[in-house]
Structures are given as C-alpha cells and as structure tokens.
Subunit: 350 residues, 3 copies
Amino acid sequence: MSRSLGSIVEALGGQLHGDAHALIQRLAPLSTAGTHDLAFVAQARYASQIETTRASALIVPPALQAVAALRGACIVTDDPYLYFARLTQWWRAQHEPRPEPRIDPLASIHPDALIGEGVDIAAFVTVGPGARIGAGARLGSHTVIGAGAMVGEQSLLHPRVTLGERCSVGERCVLHPGVVIGADGFGFAPHKGQWVKIEQLGAVRIGNDVEIGANTCIDRGALDDTVIEDGVKLDNLIQIGHNVHIGAHSAMAGCVGVAGSATIGAHCTVGGGAVVLGHLTLADGVNISAASVVTRSISRPGHYTGMFPIDDNASWEKNAASLKQLNRLRERLKAVEQAIEQATQVTPKP
Amino acid sequence: MSRSLGSIVEALGGQLHGDAHALIQRLAPLSTAGTHDLAFVAQARYASQIETTRASALIVPPALQAVAALRGACIVTDDPYLYFARLTQWWRAQHEPRPEPRIDPLASIHPDALIGEGVDIAAFVTVGPGARIGAGARLGSHTVIGAGAMVGEQSLLHPRVTLGERCSVGERCVLHPGVVIGADGFGFAPHKGQWVKIEQLGAVRIGNDVEIGANTCIDRGALDDTVIEDGVKLDNLIQIGHNVHIGAHSAMAGCVGVAGSATIGAHCTVGGGAVVLGHLTLADGVNISAASVVTRSISRPGHYTGMFPIDDNASWEKNAASLKQLNRLRERLKAVEQAIEQATQVTPKP
Amino acid sequence: MSRSLGSIVEALGGQLHGDAHALIQRLAPLSTAGTHDLAFVAQARYASQIETTRASALIVPPALQAVAALRGACIVTDDPYLYFARLTQWWRAQHEPRPEPRIDPLASIHPDALIGEGVDIAAFVTVGPGARIGAGARLGSHTVIGAGAMVGEQSLLHPRVTLGERCSVGERCVLHPGVVIGADGFGFAPHKGQWVKIEQLGAVRIGNDVEIGANTCIDRGALDDTVIEDGVKLDNLIQIGHNVHIGAHSAMAGCVGVAGSATIGAHCTVGGGAVVLGHLTLADGVNISAASVVTRSISRPGHYTGMFPIDDNASWEKNAASLKQLNRLRERLKAVEQAIEQATQVTPKP
C-alpha cells in the first residue's frame, strides 16, 4: 500500500516541494531508503547523505531545503524528527486499521468486572472480580487483570501482561509483553538469621500516556503506593522497586534498576543498565549515563556519570591493579611533594 | 475495615499504652500516616518524627516509650520492625481471607498429575504428567507445571510462572509472575566456529520458604541440579545460572546475575545489579554491594564493593581519562621517588 | 534406564578401552560421578582428578589415555568436550523420545494460519492470522504467535514465548520461556518536554540454529528489521534494542543489554551484565568481559574489559574517594616532575 506525498502533507502539515501525486511505499532510514521511500534528515550534519540517498523524497528542516530540493521532492518542517514520529503514527493507522473490538469467548472474565464500551479482549485473558476496563482498551492474549485493578480508556496491554490486584493504569498507556505490575515489593525483617516477610499492602498507580517495555517489573508499595506519573517511558527489563515515585515525562532505557523508595523527578533520563539505590531523591531534569550507579541523592539538574572506561584487557588489568593502590599512590605523592618542599623550600604547583 | 489496638496486641503481643478500643484503619509509614493509622518507629534516630507524625498510634522500642506515650497510644516491643512484619501478615489475613480453593474448569491438568487436598488452580493453568501439587498450594492463572515437577504444600505460584519438568519447589514458597524455573542452562561446546548444544539434563531444586521475584530465572543444571536452599529470598529480574548453589537464608536484590556453577554461602546478601562470575565460591555471611562484580572467590565473611563512583559528567570524563593512564602514573611516581632519593639520599615517606 | 559403553561408541565414535557391555546409568561431572556414571576430562590440568573420581568410565583426550586406562574404562577422542556435548544430545534423545505431535484442542489457532506437517501445539497457544508454522515445530503452552509471524521447521518454542506480528524465527531454533520477540523498540521524539511515540514499523528476523534464553527481549526495528544471524546464542534476561544486528555464531551471557542500532560482528562473545551502547560497531571476533560497558566502536578482534575491581568495602571506599581526584593527582605529579627537573636539570625517567 502506498500513499501520496500530497496526502501526507494534508494530514500532517509541512511545506511540500515536488510532485504531490508521487507515491510513497515505505518510510525508511536515509541510508537504506529505496526509490519509492520517504526518509527524514533532522540535522545539518547529515546533509552530506542527502546527495547519496536513493530516497524518493525527504523530510528536512528549512536549513536543508535548498540542498534537498536540488535532488528531488521534499517536505520542509521545523522539526523533522517530530514530523517523522507523527508520520509513523499516521502510517500505522492507515495501514493497520484497528479491527472491530470483540471479546474472545475463550477469555475468563469475572461477572463482577466492569468492561467499558468497545473493549477488545483476546483469548485466554483473565479479568478478576471488581476490575474495571475503560472504553476502547485492548487486552492481549494471556493478560491477567487482578481483582479490583483498573485499566484506563484506550490503553493497550499486549499479550502476557500481569496487572496485580488493586493496581491501576491510566489512559492511552502501552504495556508490552511480559510486563509485571504489582508483584510484591522486596521487604523482609531479619530475625534470628532468617527473613520474615513484610506483606506488601500498597498498590501501583500509573498515570496517563505511560509506556512500559517488555518484561519490565514495577512492584507494589509496602504500605503506600508505587507511583509512575503521566508520560513516563520505560524500556524493557527494568526493575522498579516498591514505593518508588517517578515524575512525569521521565524516561529510562533498558535494564535499569531502581531500588525501593527512590524518588525520581520529572523530565529525568536514565541510561541503560544504570542502578539507582534506594531512598534517594533525584531532582527534576537529572540525566544519568548508562551503567552508572547512583549512590547519593542529586539535587541539581545536570548530567551525571560513573562507569569504568573500557580498554583492551591487558591495559585494563594493569590499570585495575593500580587502582587498588590508588589511595596509597596519593599518600606517596604527598610525601614526594613534602620532600621537594623541604629540599627546595618551594611547593610544587600544578 | 478497621481493627482495634487491643485486638492487635492480643494477636501479636507487645505492651499497649493507650486505649485498647481505639480503631486502626490502616498501617502506614510514619511520614504519611493519618489520624486513624498505625505506624512504627524502629530506631531512635527517627525519634524526632514522633512529634510530627499524625499517626493515631505507634509501635516503638522501649527506649522510645516515654516520648511516644507523651503524644498518644503506643505498642512497646523489643523489635518494632519484626513486629511490623508480623502485623502486615496478620492484617492481610484479616482483610483478605483466602477464598475456598477450587480448580478452574479452564485449567488443563494431565490425568497422571497428583493434586493434593485443598489445592487452588486458576484458569489456563497447565499441569503436566507426573507432576505433584502439595496440599494447600495455589497456582495462579497461566502457570505451567512441567512433567514430573513438584510444588510443596502451601506454596503460592502467582500467575504466569513456569516450573520446568522435573524441577521442584518446597513448602510455603512464593513465586511471583513471570518466574522461569528450569530453562536450559547456557552450555555449548565450541566447534569450528559454531556452538554445539550441551543438553541440560539436571533440574532445579528449591527448598522451603523461598521467595522468588517477578521475571527471575533459575536455570536447570547441566548434569547435577541447581540448588536453592531454605529461606532464600530473590528479588525481581535475577538470573541464576546452571549448577549454582545458594545457601540457606541468603538474599539478593533485583537485577543480580549469578553465572554458572557459582557457590554462594548461607546468610549472604547481594545488592542490586551485582554480578557473580562463574565457578566462584562465596563463604557464608558475605555481603556484596550493589552493582559490584565478584571476579574471585571470597573466603571470609565481610562487606565487599567494586563500583565506579558517580560524579558530574565533566569531572567523570577527566578522571576516567586519567584512569586509563593510572599504571603509567604509578611508574612515573616511582621514578620521581627514585630521583628524589638519588638527589637527597632520603626516601620520601608517606 | 542405562546404556552400554558400546552403544555410545557405536553412536558417537571414539576409541573404547574397556568392557563394551558395561552399563552407564548417568552422565555426571567428574567430581560427583558415582560408580555407574560416565564423566569427561577435557584438559590435562584435571588429570589429578582422574585418580580420585568414582566414575565408572571417562571420556578423555589421547594425552590422558594412559592415566585413564590405568583406573578403568575410557573413551578416547580428540575433543572430549565436544564429544560430551553430542553425548548429552544422544542421551536425551534416548531417554526422552519425542511424543507424537498433536494440536491441543484448547489452542486458539486462526483459520488463516498455515500449520506444517507434524507440528505440536500445546494448550492455550494462540496463532494469529497469516502466521506460518514450519514442519516439525513445537509450540509450548501459552505461546503467542502474532499475525503474519513465521516459525521455521523443527524449531522449539517453550511455554510462554511471544513472537510478535510479522517477526520470523528460522529453523531448529530454541526459544525459552518468557522470551519476547518483537516488542516495540524504544523510540520517542522529544516535544515540549514530552515524548511523542515513533511507531515501530520494522520487525525481527532470526536465523537458523539460534537459541534464546528465558525472559530475553528482542525489539522490532523502527523502520528496517532487527536481525539475529544464524547460530547466535543468547542467554537469559538479555535486552536487544531495535535495529541491532548480531552476526553469526556470536554468544552473549545473561543480563547483557545492547542498545539500539548497535552492529555486532560474527563470532563475538559478550560476558554477563555487559552493556553495549547504541549505534556502535563491533568487529568480528571481539570478546567483551562481563559487566563491561562498550562506549565506542571496536574495529579489531580482541579481548576488552572495563570493570571496577572488587575489594573489601573499606579499601574500596578509600580508593573510590581518591579516584574522584585522579585527574588532580595527575596534575600534581606533573608539577612534581617539573620541580625535580628544575632543581636537578634531570627529567625523572620511569
């Protein structure tokens, strides 16, 4: 199925240069685009690729209009990346019209659950007593909605999602396969060398427009709730401990771990594999690099990193061995400085 | 639903100061407790919060009895945290009485499986031939019990747990959603640049009173079994490789990885995101900090750490660059020391 | 069930020394083998264990034939580890003959799906419209095959695997429980402090003879496909971002994260918990140590590491504190060198 450049601009705006009737068969990356494809160039530093791409048409910022128009059709817009994002949404809606909602006869829905208008429920879904599914929501196969849980309108739960009892998901959320919302937080009291379970009596509350990646886990609170605010985006295989609070529009890449009772501000980003220890507070606008370990609260927005630089193994071995003597090296350096000072009456100055 | 202070002390002990008829509506953290809530104070350093909390009643140690009694009702007990843990268990039992066990007609149970007394099996569960489910055990929806697998009495498998063939779980265990017990260990023999699979013929044996968090994986042994002893607590998204042995009452936080054939002692703790390499041995009572990588066996109990300290990104970049020359710095320092020694006939002494 | 040494050699080759009629009851590790067990010794450095093992028979390389034959039966082969791998496969086939394939009546298979000859489909599987399941493939219970997805011949999808729409898996692959193929890649365009979703229009293409561990996730591409080539082996709880390309016969241990658009060569290995950042390229034959973070492309084969060495916590604290002043230490050292040079007219030489 193809769409004309004209229909794209009609739907999404932008200034078209070129033939409005030209047909686009595929959205494609600049480097692999073919002769019937539409690609985007967000930044001037990719301008050199404009000359070599085989794309039929390009989405470009005003600064690249001249060079793009030289080679063929283009759509000019202030923010090509944003335009492209909206284009993917429009493209999907055009090509994969949502089927009529239905409730599969192989779903197991408790008679005391409330199912809204136009809800789609696939085979082998279970919905517990007192659960409420908002209008237009979709539940993929094998998804489990616990007793008293709530799914907001137009939310999409892919197959094999677990939403624990009394937990809630807002509107227009997307939860990917294997997500577990509302497993017990990790809480035990030590007693005579053993662990006594602290029942986790809280729940999880998730705002609107939240997306949660495959196999990510968000634990229920011990007493109060774990809270994920509006617009948060979590990638795959992330662990969110009990009583964590994540502020609006923060985003985390895959394999991040956030320990219990951490409070993360709004508009934060956390890189893949990073760890945030428990009971810490991160201010709004904090960016944590991949694989960094946040061991203290951060009160100012900014970019923070802590990660051992990779090296060839032989060099790493030498430096790692020296690292174990680093404090000792510092003391030796101080002694050297003092020896020089005594010998020359002059303090070395870096 | 509320409970009186008197009924709590009757069930759990402790010394009540105040009105036994006062009703508690909720267990709450000290900081967010409301006027009908019960909170606990475990340590004297939180004493200052006693004056500001709005909690109706407090659980406190003897040292805080005086200050707590000044402001209202309190329960005095030697270990408030332990008391609180038991209180959460009692509270849940009071408020969520276990429903009558039933076997959902939509479960798929092999006729050669042995199902004990009072077992509860939800919809879409599969139980393979030769599997045995102990009395009072509960299997959440979509849980898979492989051929010849065993679940001990009173264990709770939440929805979407997989227990592989011939694997066993002890009594009173709790397995959270998405847990995978008994996937194949990662074993391949290299041959002409390719990998030849080593079939994993062992199983997984899990003791009593073990809790396993959401989406955690424990692989089956290659020949012998992977073993998790009594009372072990594993958080979410943990990977336990084949032939690992974890001693009794050890606990691991989220996102830990333990490579194959590692032997971890009893009463150990491993912080979130830590990695234990394969074929190592950790003594009883070893504590590993979060995000640390255990690259060698540890024979003495104690606290071990290895983690790059986080910093603002600009500082980190400078220090990380220097780190790659650390061994060279050490050599330069040695040269300086020798130069001073030659010049002054005196060895600098830190 | 036991097998004679003769039948093993007949099936797998090797030179038998000893009684061909001797019966083997179990394959076992050298250290725990009993008197009816068969164990292997791959390397001469384990020769000392040959004298103490209770194994009935041993698989050994020619160099150990003499010492092994002294104590009893042995099979001599050039590569005992490879022999052992093939033996486990033969052993499993002997002891667990594959049951007759059947399609469980409780599976939900779309009438427009194409199911090959001899396919086995367990209870509660869903197969979407247009999906194709190759001859001899097996789908474990609760596995989800999306619309238009493809499973190659003889592949084994364990219970609770999700294969997203339009994604494909080659022949003879093994996917363990909880695997998610084809969840959306993590792509959002920032706009006024919020995130606008980029619909992920690509798919995932997986070659032949690929094995994927429990709860591992491979995201679909944004526009082009994510590609896993033939013979790749991925352990549990691995995250593969969108548009990643993994070359043939590469292997990754548990908990690895590979960010979007990374290109990893053939015959690479990545240790457990390592992170590969996005848009990087790793040459063929690169080996990354466990828990290392790959922050730049690597163009030469070799062994690379970056990991903070573990230490007792007190020592770590001192060295980590010094690390934050490392760049400053370097400047101080330079000043010292200059002071010595000025004082003595001699540059210190390491």
